[in-house]
Structure formats: C-alpha cells, structure tokens
Subunit: 139 residues, 6 copies
C-alpha cells in the first residue's frame, strides 16, 4: 500500500457567519472572519490517494488523471469564487476549512474509486499556519 | 548602507474591475479576477528599509518598531478586509498588486523617515507565483 | 473525525549533554550539539488536534483559542529562552527535540480536552532537515 | 513511541517507459515522462524512523547516524545519476516515484533495525506538487 | 517604475561537459555534473518585468499574457526535455545555469517589449541552494 | 554580468546587549534579545557573486569552490557556536543580523576576488520574517 499525494491551489473569498444573526453577534463569535464584506485566501489542497502500484507503470494512479479529477470537480468550481455564494457542493454549509475539506472529500472520493484506488485524505491549508485534514467517515 | 527586510502577512478579498462596465465586459478584460462576488488572497508583504547600523545596537531600525509601523498603518487596515470597499488608502484605486504595493509604500514611507532610515521597497506577493516590487517615485 | 493543525514558532538556545561528564566526553558523544557555550534554533511547532466540527461554526476548535493555549503554555515560556536553564516543564530533562515535543504534548493536552477536543500530536522541527512527531503514550 | 524524520535531497535523471514498446506507444501511455532523451528532478527524501528515546541522550536515533545510513545506502548511489541505468537497487524496476520509495525503504530498513529503531516510512517528493509515501509491507 | 515577477517551473535533464574531452577529463573538471548518463533538476524560473502600471487595470503587464509568453517560448521547449540535445535556443551552448538564464532572457525579451514593458531579469534556481540572475547586456 | 547565489545554513546562539549595562537596562533596550542566558537561530546565508561566465564551463564561479570558501571562512566558525563568545571575526562586534552580514562580507570578499569574481552581497535571514542584505562599502 502506497500513498500518493497531489497538491493543487485555489484563491477564493469566504465569510464565516450564522445567517439570521446580526453583524455584531457574528463579529463577537467569529471575529474578523465574519466580515460582511468578505475576505479571502490562497488555499493549498493536498489530495492523498492510496493503492498498489500498477505492475507496468509503477503508478498507484496516473497523476495526470488525478490532477484532472481535482481540477474538474474542485478547482474549476472554487478558484476565484466566493465559497459562500457560488460553489454547488458548499451550498448551505458553513465554509470553515474543516467543512470545505469534508465537502471536497465527498466530491472526489467516488471518482477515485473508479480509478481502482482509494481516497485517503484531504488536507487543506488556509494560511501557512492553519490547516486541516479529513480522512472520511470510517477513518 | 544595509538593507533590512520585514515580512508581514494579511488575508483580504478584492476584485479587479472598471466601474461602469458591464460584468461581461469586465470578465472579458480581467477574467476570473473581476468576479462580482469577489475572491481573495493570502498576501505576503516584504518591507525593505535601508540605512546605517546604529553603533550601539547594530540595528538599521529596531524590527519591533518597523513591525509596529507596518501593523498600524497597513495590516490593521487590510487584514480580513475587502480591498475595494474598506481600506482608506485604496479608495478609488484599482486593487491590482502593483497599485496595492504603491499605496503601501506611500503610506509608510514618512514614518520610516522619522526613524532616520529610508524605505527602499515594498514587495508584495499575491500568490506563490506572482509578486511585484515598488521602489518609490525616484528609484 | 477531522485533524486541525496550528503552526507556531520560537527561537531558543540549548545544549545536549550529560551533567557530570567532562566537556570532552560530552563532545565525543554529542558532537557540536554539546558546545558548553550553547547554540540555538528557530523551532517550528505544529500542534494537531482532532474532533468533530461544531455544527454552527464548522470548527473542531477555534484556532484563536488553540493559538492562545499554545502561546500561554509554551511559546511564552520557551521563546528567546535557554531550554536547559529557564523552562519549567523542561527542568531535569535532556532537551533533545524528541523530549521537547513530549514535554509540550503533556503541557497542553489537558487544556485541549477542556475544549472538548483531543490532542493528536506534537510535531517539532529543529531545522529544515530534522523533525520529530509525538502522539502521546497510548498512540 | 516517537517519530523522527530526516530530509535528504538528490538530483537524478530518469524515464518512465516499457522496454520493447515503441517510443510512440510509450509516449501515448506515459507522455513527456517517457522522453527517450531523459528528463530529471530534484528529489526530496523524508526518512521517518520510530522508537523510544534513549534515556541519556533523549534521541530515538542519532541523526548523524541516520544521515550516514541514508547517504551511504541511497544518496551516494542516486545523486547525479540516471535512475534507469546506474542504480543497483533499481535494476529492472520502473522508476516511478512509488517504486523508488519502495526500493529505498527495503534498502535501508535492515540498517535502521541494527540501530534498535524501526523504519516507519519513506516519503519522496518528485516535484513540489507530487509526492508518495510508503510504509512497508505490513503497514 | 514597478517590477512584476512571474514564477514558472520545468523539469529537465542535462550534463555539463566539453565535447572532445574524455569522460575522465570531464569528470575531473565538472565532477558528477558531467555524468555521461545525465542527471536532472526541477528548475524554478522567475521572470521580472518592469514598467508603469496601466491607468485602467493597474497592471504593468497582464500576468496571463506574461505566463503565456514564458510557456510558449520557454517551458514548452524545455519541460521534460534534455537541455543538451533537444532545445533550439541552447544548441551549442554549455547548459550551466548561467547560460540557460542568459538564453531565456534573449528568447523572451523581444516579446516583452511588444507588450510595452521591459524585461528586467531572469532568475533561475537549479536547486534550493543554487541560483543565478541575469539582467541583460547593458545592466 | 551574471549574479550567482549560494545558500548555506548555520545554527548559533547569541545575545544583543551592551557590556557594562545592567540586565534590566539591556532588557529595556533590547527586550528578549538580550536574555543573559542566550537564545539562538537557524541562520540562512545567501552569498551572491557576480562576474562573466567562463567560456568553457559557463560558470561565473564553480559552486563547489564558492561553497568551500563559505564553509571554511564562515560556517565552520559559526555553526553550533556562540556568536558573542566564540567567533574570531565577531570579536567586539554587536551580533545584530546587520553586523554579522557585514563581518561575513569582509571575511570572504578577498577570497572571491582571487577567483576572478566579485562579491555582490551577503543576505542573512535570522528568522523567516527578518533578514538583512549588505552590498559592501561602495555600493
């Protein structure tokens, strides 16, 4: 069993807040992250897939295929977008780094399985100091 | 003459667009960067100051003082903010990386001079691949 | 279950040596690391906490809270300090990177539990080439 | 149980291809990676060893010893070399990043055991976006 | 006057040697870098362009245009290639990092001028420790 | 004219203080940096040399030669040392980053000239946020 990891990047705006709360109450709970005028990040996304290397190529998964899956299902939907307003798989979900990572996991996991490999984890860096990693429901 | 450089960071939302143009025309000219719902970045800011080291401390400028100037005049105004809507020194200015760097230069240059040093340049990274550096009007 | 990781940094002096041994014997066993006049490092500390995201905020733990715990219990005690002489939780402990990581783990683990999360690991980088990770006694 | 990790680097040429296939067929399957005139990488190698810290030194393994093992058994054989043509432990093996990591694991695992520690994993970065990690047969 | 810098990357094989010298003589002069079986690198390329920001966009040069120039004139020719054998603008030139940077400068400088900007420098990193920067003939 | 840059690293202890002042007075002026029990850093040193590439090798200077000069004249004297107590070229000099960079410049400049190249600058990073660059007396 070998892990293979692909890094991709995207830039997006977001805001952490509870709908129905006043700006003041949101600010109290979430601080500057709830700014009603938005803020944004350069997100770094690390997708780790596991499996056995193919006898011929020595690849667990062709990185060009993995990169294509990530771009089509994730990057094209989130890059230069507003994570609260414009991303189908984030509709109705609080865009904390934790929740974005979970949503991305479930978005691409079925497509990895079609490649006869297993999605091990989604690691997402919001800043150089803050990151999360999600391993799926049964991890 | 020695250069001393301090790195600070901020996260912000922005949009590159021309007011009065339709979203379509802005999109044609500026692509995804003009998304009306905003996007954002983790900006890295490098402030370079030059001068002679103080005979006692060996410092061109005390980095605690330099950091305080940058935080008060820049970071506190731009971090977790919308660069188009909320930053006094960016009012009416297209928030390209070039223009943000220029505005920051003029914002802090007078305060560096009060410290008996000279602001050499503002380098600003928008992503790991894109950066600008501004050296002032007479460079 | 999601992992969330916070990076903090500190600069400290230390020396790896056995009290009671001569400088020569220490030098034989530990090389330059036992220099009686000390040396030092820019340590990078990665604190990983695990738990379920809060339904409202989507946070496993508020990173401002996590950062405050790390600063109060660790950074304020070790930054710009001598790890052999000045740090309460390192008293009588050989300041190898391994032992510093273990001591930090036990220092902050109870405070993470009070936040209804679990400390997963302490990763500590001494240089860009050398790091350790500690997962607790029962890992 | 503590993990300790040492980074080493090497630069090498390689080509991913199947002997007996035409250049065209290799190109179809492996793209630019099968260029018959070779291409190359700056590989980053992370060797993670686990064990209990020694009571006296606080070390799981002396990093000078670990670094010497990696240099003698790996770096000296692969640095500035052609991975398809010149490396004894890669003879007859497709030099995918996965297979290089596996081969390095088996090359140094016995020597780590002689140091009373256990090789936990080999992580190998081919580019800043692509990496693999291998944990041994029984992981 | 503002500098704007774009980073691109490529992986290539090369060999530093003098044609007509024996392998032994080349090895004496150039060490492992002259390995007749090639070695390779992940090159990092930083292209710095200078000019005045456009009043409307605030751009010195559109980074999508700059990136396209670099990809068409450089990356497509060198990525996954052998720098001694396969690159038109390196024919007959010793592929030292210095000479590659010079050749890239002259390759793209005319195209930058057509964009009403000036190519300031080409910085090329061969490894994380070694880099060169070329500023043109009249710098 | 081409610039070539070599990065080297060292770990050292130091303290910024004025001899003859009380610990209290030093602490008031220099803060935690004057801790009488020392603190330390992982310094990153960038040595930039300029000249014309040799027609045969394409090298401005052989990086093995440059690295050897830096190691013999600098790294061997400062690595795992106390910059206030143990380094000949820092005797009687306040070990601010500025002053260390200046001293290193004058230490290696004559040896670069013997290689028919010119030392352009010494850049020294004390932390990931703080760095200085010195260009010599006549820059």
């Amino acid at each position: 069993m070998i892990h293979i990891c692909r890094r991709e990047r995207f830039n997006a705006a977001h805001r952490v807040f509870v709908e129905g709360w006043s700006d003041e109450k949101n600010s109290e709970h979430f601080g500057a992250c709830s700014n009603p005028n938005w803020h944004g990040h350069n997100y770094e996304l690390f997708v780790t897939v596991k499996g056995e290397p193919d006898p011929l190529s020595g690849y667990v998964i062709d990185l060009k295929v993995l990169s294509k899956i990530i771009r089509e299902k994730v990057i094209n939907k989130v890059d230069h977008r507003n994570l609260n307003l414009e991303v189908d798989f984030m509709k109705g979900i609080q865009p904390s780094t934790e929740n974005i990572a979970k949503a991305i996991f479930h978005e691409i996991s079925p497509l990895i399985q079609k490649q006869k490999a297993v999605l091990h984890s989604i690691r997402l860096h919001e800043t150089e100091n803050n990151s999360v990693e999600y391993f799926g429901e049964f991890a």
